[in-house]
């Protein structure tokens, strides 16, 4: 691939999200999205007339039982009379949706774009939706946990990571989530011992080392340089998009490294290069990483280049990824606390933006200037990432 220009400047002007719970029986899908959108519009200080295009992301339509639901939601999404694009890249979709929305701005075509991602798992059955047979492909059989457990076992076997590292991540993220008012799971009294005494679901993944099923939505307003400067002129910070990356690899091929996929490493390398970052562990102040099962924190730390191969668990064990560590990971509580699948990736991207905008409330990392938003999907095949900063990229 030849060297490419990043395009015109783009920035996050505002973000919004719902409270995440197992069942939102008080709102429809449209109502759920609208809560996040209204919050994002208010945060960005923009009105509907200023939105030029709407980009929607969610995971498979079988999760709710509606085919291309953005069509019937067009009115509620404020998309009537505007471009409406629907992105679907499996679990990474929330992140990909933000990246696609950014390219709307970076192309010079649009000035302000609304991106919204959501999942309302309570209206259908995600387990059923993921269990339809695919010809010539091994069935997942036991949901996402059953699919990913062997990857985790492989990681533990090859790195010699001790059993308590996964529990440490669970405790850290649930404690972080307990100070995030939007988080679904809040467990301020969880301990490593309690996690280790919990039920084993998919060896070696225990009950408290898994994410919940959530209803929820997230929205982001992106703008061009002029729109961003307008917000900055009011004394509020924006989150400048320093770099984005998307990478995909097939689910199976000879020599595939399931615990550290090449698509992940390639995406990270491209991301850091575009953002002008040579030492991510040093230069990133907060990282929102897609960790649906606790062991994915040490795995992704290595894949993203924050830790050397085989050393991710040592970084976690040292406390470096805690709120007061050198690289706070998932200060919001992350996917381990809230998992509206289609929105989970965008929540990572939005939380990264909130950190550098200084709007992360109780879970703000003091002085965060550069942050990573990360999502993955499929069988660890689809990766989307961005780096946002409080200052415009030079």
């Amino acid at each position: 691939m030849s060297a490419h220009s990043p395009g015109l400047p783009a920035a996050v002007l505002g973000t919004g999200q719902t409270h995440h719970v197992a069942r939102r029986t008080d709102v429809s899908m449209s109502g759920l999205c609208r809560e996040a959108i209204d919050a994002a519009m208010a945060d960005a200080g923009v009105g509907w007339d200023e939105i030029d295009a709407v980009v929607v992301g969610k995971a498979p339509d079988l999760f709710e039982g509606v085919m291309m639901p953005e069509l019937m939601m067009a009115d509620a999404l404020g998309a009537v009379g505007k471009p409406l694009l629907r992105v679907h890249t499996a679990g990474s979709v929330g992140g990909s949706t933000a990246v696609v929305a950014a390219s709307h701005i970076q192309s010079g075509r649009y000035r302000r774009v609304l991106a919204v991602a959501w999942e309302k798992q309570s209206e259908s059955n995600a387990m059923w939706a993921l269990s339809l047979p695919v010809p010539f492909t091994a069935p997942v059989g036991a949901g996402a946990g059953g699919y990913f457990a062997p990857h985790v076992r492989s990681y533990i076997r090859t790195t010699g990571a001790p059993e308590h590292v996964g529990a440490m991540v669970a405790v850290k993220d649930r404690l972080n989530g307990s100070i995030n008012p939007h988080a679904h799971l809040k467990q301020p009294d969880l301990t490593v011992d309690k996690v280790l005494q919990g039920q084993m679901l998919w060896d070696p993944i225990r009950f408290d080392e898994t994410c919940p099923s959530s209803d929820g939505a997230c929205a982001i307003i992106l703008g061009d340089a002029a729109a961003a400067e307008e917000v900055e002129s009011t004394g509020r910070r924006v989150a400048w998009v320093h770099a984005t990356a998307l990478r995909t690899e097939p689910g199976t091929f000879a020599g595939r490294d399931y615990a550290n996929p090449q698509a992940s490493r390639d995406a990270a390398a491209a991301l850091w290069a575009e953002a002008g970052i040579t030492d991510p562990a040093e230069e990133i102040d907060a990282a929102e990483i897609y960790v649906p099962f606790s062991w994915f924190e040490p795995m992704w730390l290595e894949s993203l280049g924050f830790a050397a191969p085989g050393e991710g668990w040592r970084m976690t064990e040292s406390g470096a990824t805690a709120r007061d560590g050198s690289l706070p990971v998932n200060p919001s509580g992350g996917v381990m606390c809230s998992n509206p699948i289609g929105a989970s990736g965008m929540l990572r991207f939005a939380e990264a933006a909130r950190q550098v905008m200084g709007r992360a409330e109780e879970h703000q990392i003091p002085g965060a200037r550069k942050a990573l938003g990360h999502a993955y999907g499929g069988g660890s095949q689809f990766f989307s990432m961005w780096v946002v900063g409080s200052e415009r990229r030079r």
Binding site: V66, M67, M68, M72, V80, T89, Q106, P250
Partner: protein
């Protein structure tokens, strides 16, 4: 907002699978797509590893399972990994996403593909009804032709078109006699079989390139000199079903018209993604397409309606007309959702903008 990006983007290759009522291939499109990709590579001299960005369009409900696009990636042979995305829409919208990616400067080349195996559905009516409001409309399970009949009837009642005019659209596409067509029974009053699309399995692909790269690859790239897409309300009762304000607004922006009507000056070919005969009449009127324009010379969705690649095919056919010198300026249209809810307009030219 501007109708074009600061960087030129052009179509340099297009191919689609043979239209067929039913293929034995799997619902992920791999068997249909592999030869289509090969043809696109042949036309451009590019190889898989020369493609900077990939984007596909498909629909999980048509495939009957979640994540149908994941196994379609196998067609690419994505080792080493690729920069890739997917829209749960007709691949014409994947084309739009790829267009933006090149326009940003983040990619110089892109391969866009779409696929759908409508024959895999034992009840296409029920599948397509799932696009409707799940709380109030979908539980009524209206058939797709019956929904289209609401629109056809509204136009007839308003005096905007007639059954005879609809039959003349079908007669042009199929070569059959208009009076003979009008003697046939209704499928969904006022629609007869010839007013409706056939069930088609299909797949298509387009290669896009930045202006500089395009000139290296083919003699006459089809430059995208304007592209836009707009959505209308999903509420049938809230829309004037005899008009398409979203198609017109998209065309106004794509053609950089200064007024409230599109400026189609110089367009001699318009490939319209119209699944029903009355929709061609509706769009002709909404877009102001005159009689001197050849409308959907490919035959369009009345002859073959490969769901989720039919819109991309319209862009491909219009681009081919430009690349092969049949016109200097062509318009392509794609639609999504029931009754033309979403519309995309793409203007293609044989010269740089």
């Amino acid at each position: 907002m501007t109708p074009t990006a600061p960087r030129d983007v052009a179509v340099v290759g297009f191919a689609h699978a043979r239209h067929t009522e039913s293929t034995f291939g799997t619902t992920n499109g791999v068997e249909m797509l592999a030869p289509v990709f090969a043809e696109c590579y042949r036309q451009t001299g590019l190889d898989r590893t020369d493609i900077d960005f990939w984007c596909s369009g498909s629909c999980d409900y048509l495939a009957g399972r979640a994540f149908s696009f994941i196994s379609a990636v196998d067609t690419i042979g994505a080792v080493p990994p690729i920069s890739e995305s997917h829209v749960e829409m007709d691949a014409a919208w994947a084309f739009f996403e790829a267009y933006l990616k090149i326009a940003t400067g983040q990619a110089d080349t892109a391969l866009v593909y779409g696929f759908g195996k409508a024959s895999a559905s034992t009840d296409l009516d029920s599948a397509m009804a799932l696009q409707l409001d799940p709380y109030t409309v979908a539980p009524l399970w209206p058939g797709r032709h019956h929904i289209a009949a609401l629109q056809a009837r509204a136009g007839i009642d308003a005096g905007t078109w007639s059954e005879g005019a609809m039959a003349s659209v079908a007669a042009r596409a199929t070569g059959r006699d208009e009076r003979e067509l009008l003697a046939e029974p209704y499928v969904a009053d006022p629609l007869r079989r010839h007013d409706c699309p056939p069930v088609t399995d299909g797949a298509g692909a387009i290669i896009l390139a930045s202006g500089d790269r395009a000139r290296e690859l083919v003699d006459t790239p089809a430059y995208v000199t304007g592209i836009e897409h707009i959505a209308d309300s999903a509420e049938f009762g809230a829309r004037d079903l005899t008009d398409s304000p979203s198609a017109r607004a998209a065309a106004v922006r794509a053609t950089r018209s200064s007024g409230d009507r599109p400026d189609l000056g110089g367009v001699t070919v318009a490939e319209l993604h119209t699944q029903y005969t009355h929709q061609e009449l509706l769009l002709r009127s909404a877009l102001g397409i005159g009689d001197h324009v050849a409308v959907t010379p490919s035959g369009g969705s009345l002859l073959a309606d490969p769901l989720f690649s039919a819109g991309l095919e319209r862009i491909g056919y219009a681009a081919n007309d430009v690349m092969e010198g049949r016109t200097e300026r062509a318009l392509a249209h794609a639609t999504s959702g029931h009754l033309l809810q979403q519309n995309l307009i793409c203007l293609l030219e044989g010269r740089p903008a």
